[in-house]
């Protein structure tokens, strides 16, 4: 929730510097959708460079970042369920033809 008690927007939440986006996350983008229970949801895509290898420190950093995003949504006042999704750049570019 913002200081004035007005729910924040998805953009506001994702732009918040206190989320400490790891450097190896190239881009964060989102798409609004419905989840499997029919609730308003947002898929937050964490896009990594193609060459990124997810080693233990990267994995921990990604999970930590994901948790901070989810917590931020929980506190935001937005009635929307956040889901974190992951892709490398080339996968994200082609995701609509992967299905």
């Amino acid at each position: 929730m913002s200081r004035k008690g007005i729910p924040m927007s998805v953009e506001d939440i994702l732009r918040d510097e206190s989320l400490s986006q790891p450097r190896f996350v190239e881009q964060v983008t989102y798409e609004e959708t419905l989840d499997s229970s029919g609730r308003d949801a947002v898929y937050i895509w964490l896009i990594l460079p193609d060459k990124t290898r997810i080693t233990p420190p990267q994995f921990e950093n990604l999970v930590g970042y994901s948790r901070r995003i989810v917590e931020a949504f929980n506190k935001s006042g937005l009635d929307i369920a956040p889901y974190i999704r992951y892709a490398r750049r080339s996968e994200f570019k082609n995701k609509d033809v992967i299905a």
Binding site: D35, L48, I54, F59, R67, N74, R88, E91, A99
Partner: protein, 181 residues
């Protein structure tokens, strides 16, 4: 090391599908599904251990994806669980009332248990997409992350499994519909 339990076998299966040279969309979808089912069966196994061996076969059949998801959503977004909030719509929380009488009405949820619950919700959502929604692509990266997350979640669970909130989580995951009907 050869997997011994069913969840371990499912995790190995999920890993093999991702590790294929050029995994197909079907491989990635089945991998996400196997990772989720590893967690699903892991929790059922944990819950069954709370009961005498003679009743475990029945207990294992009391779990439903939807009820587990509802419970996990409550645990993932609250630091305190009020036991009454876990009842099904219009129903008395019969089995939970039991717990409530023995314990406080409110149970604190450790941050790690919140993470565990959240991981379950996310694994299930991904599995729903993977199994049923061909409009949503599944990337190799997220199949890999889902697999790693489930392994991590099982490790995290081991750190909190003895807490009251964790036991309540398992009991609440059991089919509340059946309890009330």
């Amino acid at each position: 090391m050869k997997p011994e339990t069913y969840p371990e076998m499912l995790l190995e299966h999920a890993a093999l599908l991702i590790a294929r040279r050029r995994p197909s969309a079907a491989d990635l979808r089945r991998s996400c599904s196997a990772s989720y089912y590893a967690l699903f069966h892991f929790f059922i196994g944990e819950a069954a251990k709370l009961f005498p061996a003679s009743g475990r076969s029945y207990i294992r059949r009391c779990f439903h994806h939807g009820e587990m998801s509802k419970t996990a959503r409550v645990f993932s977004s609250n630091q305190q669980i009020v036991i009454d909030t876990l009842k099904g719509p219009g129903q008395q929380p019969t089995h939970l009332t039991h717990v409530a009488h023995r314990q406080n009405k409110q149970v604190a949820v450790a941050p790690k248990l919140k993470d565990v619950a959240r991981s379950f919700v996310e694994a299930q959502e991904l599995r729903e997409n993977a199994d049923y929604d061909l409009a949503h692509a599944i990337t190799k990266t997220e199949a890999d992350m889902a697999h790693r997350r489930v392994i991590q979640t099982i490790e995290d669970w081991k750190a909190v499994r003895k807490t009251r909130a964790a036991k309540l989580f398992l009991i609440a995951c059991m089919g509340m519909k059946r309890q009330g009907s």
